[in-house]
């Protein structure tokens, strides 16, 4: 009984931490611009694809990962420069639609130039399952969880302790005021895209040994990551991670205890219920409008 419960829990945590990493990327861009970047899933896919292709071509794994992360970060910067910046005075909804267009473009380019095949990446520390109380867990799942937590810590430090991080936060609170105190909000927006692309790539690489990757791997991860981010309140790192893990665990428990046919439906019902009673998400800040 316990073993079965633990197995469902591990399954949920593995999937959930992938959602959490995707959710983190959404929150960073949302925090600096109010834009939901629907190309976030594509960043995840790009990271995984680049790393898998480079490693598959015989490059040592650490080098392949480093190049994949940097390359995806550059894609994020180019995307901001090329499509977001020229339209930066447009309404937020327009920008969101632009990101959807960018995601379709990225997916199409990858499909044409990197092919439609599914690729795998070797796990970082073997694929021998770890047995614990009768349930088994892949070492790669621990990598995903560990790195996710480390990233949350690093982001908390970045936004709370560094001048640049504070500048990004300030921009999100009030763009005009931030400009008046001398913050270059244009650079801040550029950096937020670069940073979330980096994070997305990292997530994509970490989960690739478990989930495989292909040109369309970003659609589902992006969607679930968005749901996790909303669930967590689109605020900070803790909310995103909690949202991701909750989503993953509900899915696994539904598949395990109720029926695998309802696996994708139950989490969405739960989210509707949560958002109905807590419209700002589980960890969303309360907003008081000044009159």
């Amino acid at each position: 009984m316990l073993a079965q419960f633990l197995q469902f829990l591990y399954s949920g945590m593995t999937v959930g931490s992938a959602y959490a990493l995707a959710a983190l990327g959404f929150t960073i861009i949302y925090n600096t611009s109010g834009v939901i970047n629907f190309a976030q899933g594509e960043f995840i896919m790009l990271g995984g694809m680049f790393a898998a292709l480079l490693a598959g071509g015989g490059m040592p794994l650490p080098l392949a990962i480093a190049i994949a992360v940097v390359a995806t970060g550059l894609v994020g910067l180019v995307m901001e420069k090329a499509v977001i910046e020229p339209a930066q005075n447009a309404h937020v909804v327009t920008l969101i639609i632009i990101t959807i267009g960018a995601s379709l473009t990225l997916r199409g380019l990858v499909q044409i130039f990197l092919g439609k095949a599914t690729h795998s990446l070797p796990p970082f520390s073997g694929d021998k399952p770890i047995e614990f109380l009768g349930a088994s867990l892949l070492p790669q799942s621990l990598w995903v969880l560990g790195v996710t937590l480390a990233v949350v810590g690093a982001l908390a430090w970045f936004f709370g302790r560094t001048l640049l991080g504070k500048a990004m936060l300030a921009t999100s609170h009030n763009k005009l005021a931030a400009q008046l105190v001398g913050i270059n909000t244009r650079v801040v927006l550029l950096l937020s895209f670069g940073l979330s692309a980096l994070l997305g790539a990292l997530g994509g690489i970490l989960v690739a040994p478990i989930t495989y990757t292909s040109y369309d791997a970003g659609i589902m991860l992006g969607l679930k990551g968005f749901v996790a981010a909303v669930l967590g309140g689109l605020g900070g790192g803790v909310g995103a991670v909690a949202g991701g893990l909750i989503l993953g665990i509900i899915e696994a428990m539904t598949a395990g205890y109720i029926s695998s046919s309802y696996k994708d439906a139950v989490p969405f019902v739960v989210i509707l219920v949560i958002l109905f009673f807590m419209p700002r998400g589980l960890f969303g800040a309360k907003i008081s409008e000044r009159v």
């Binding site: 079965q4 197995q7 469902f8 591990y10 399954s11 949920g12 593995t14 999937v15 992938a18 499909q111 439609k116 095949a117 599914t118 795998s120 694929d127 399952p129 088994s136 867990l137 892949l138 989960v207 478990i210 989930t211 495989y212 292909s214 369309d216 791997a217 659609i219 589902m220 696994a252 428990m253 598949a255 395990g256 695998s260 046919s261 696996k263 994708d264």
Partner: protein, 383 residues
């Protein structure tokens, strides 16, 4: 004056003659609607490449009935609605002699009513049984059905004395249809499906479903019906949960080297039904299909520097069956070609040996599938 009339006659005669030769050399038009882009692109892409390659080869060898073949192709983008409108175009403005295509069952079913009305011979490249059952006068197909795959697997299970099976199927069209057919034929082989779980095509962890199957009392084997990366995830999770003592069966949906590459060591001992093409080189020399499949394998690799897929094989069989029927009919007259197609007997293709009849527009039997087992990271033919 007289010389003038004479001149005119000569001109008229030569024009008439030119027109006559032109009509004799007019190409035979082969229409095709395939899903070369969109979600079904992994099926449509090798299909189109195969058609282009072999139309070129047949023309280089002198064509058919002294006429060249001309491929008129449209990409439906994996959209059944577009498949329907392109078919209309092929019938009405391109006036093709025969139609190949319908990569997916959805596209095929959207095309079928049009060809029936236009009396155009049509060979589909899609899997489901509904295409040929009930028989439609003008519709044929080359791929095996999912029902045959389930039967082949159950045949092997019966040999091993397995009667209680856990079914795990994908929620995609392929998996859902496979699930239905599996449930349909299980009783015929004395097999009880003790578990019935599903997973999404993009699911990244399927341990929860597998744990449920593992804890089902009496389960002797697991049968997975899916396509692409999902079955590879299942295979890896299977290893993770230490379920290797329970035999794992996959469907023909994973019959490609990509599956081996993705699932790695966890795939050892997995059994599945596959067309002969996958194991072209491992076939015994006296196998009827040996020459056909090794020939296709070699030709495709030389041209595209890639592994040929069984899907491309479906297209090749459709093209060769058409050519064969046109030759036997001695013309491109629709009804004559259709009758010749229906009369196909003992035609050896990459998918199997075709024996069509007025009641069977696919013409394959279970011998078209070979049972293989994964051993040392490669396919091994089971006797």
């Amino acid at each position: 004056m007289l010389s003038n009339i004479f001149k005119k006659t000569i001109i008229f005669a030569s024009i008439a003659l030119a027109a006559a030769t032109a009509s004799a050399a007019e190409p035979i038009k082969i229409g095709s609607v395939l899903s070369v882009s969109g979600p079904a692109a992994f099926l449509g892409d090798p299909e189109l490449k195969t058609l282009q390659l072999y139309v070129e080869k047949i023309n280089a060898a002198g064509g058919v009935l002294g006429r060249k073949l001309e491929l008129v192709h449209y990409d439906d983008g994996s959209d059944a609605g577009k498949a329907n409108s392109f078919t209309k175009r092929l019938i009405e403005s391109d006036k093709v002699n025969i139609l190949i295509g319908g990569t997916t069952t959805g596209a095929t079913m959207a095309m079928a009513p049009l060809v029936e009305r236009a009396s155009l011979p049509f060979i589909s490249l899609a899997g489901a049984v509904v295409i040929i059952d009930p028989v439609k006068k003008w519709v044929f197909k080359t791929p095996h059905t999912d029902r045959m795959a389930a039967e082949k697997v159950f045949e092997d299970m019966k040999k091993r004395g397995i009667t209680k099976v856990g079914l795990l199927s994908e929620t995609s069209g392929f998996g859902a249809s496979g699930r239905k057919e599996t449930q349909h034929v299980a009783g015929k082989y004395g097999i009880t499906l003790v578990a019935d779980e599903t997973y999404g095509p993009k699911d990244t962890d399927i341990t929860a479903q597998l744990t449920r199957i593992k804890n089902t009392p009496g389960v002797q084997a697991v049968f997975v019906f899916g396509l692409g990366q999902g079955p590879a995830v299942v295979t890896k999770n299977y290893g993770q949960l230490g379920m290797t003592s329970v035999p794992l069966y996959q469907s023909h949906g994973v019959a490609s080297d990509e599956y081996l590459k993705l699932s790695g060591k966890a795939a050892e001992g997995v059994r599945l039904p596959t067309p002969a093409l996958l194991i072209a080189n491992a076939l015994p020399a006296n196998d009827v299909q040996k020459a056909v499949v090794t020939g296709y394998d070699k030709t495709y690799r030389e041209r595209y520097k890639a592994e040929p897929s069984t899907f491309g094989g479906y297209a090749l069989d459709a093209l060769n069956l058409s050519v064969d029927a046109i030759k036997r009919a001695g013309s491109t007259d629709g009804e004559k070609v259709r009758a010749a197609l229906e009369g196909t007997k003992g035609f050896v293709g990459t998918t199997g040996v075709f024996n069509m009849s007025p009641t069977n527009h696919m013409g394959l039997d279970l011998s078209a599938f070979r049972m293989v087992e994964v051993k040392n990271g490669d396919w091994q033919l089971l006797k």
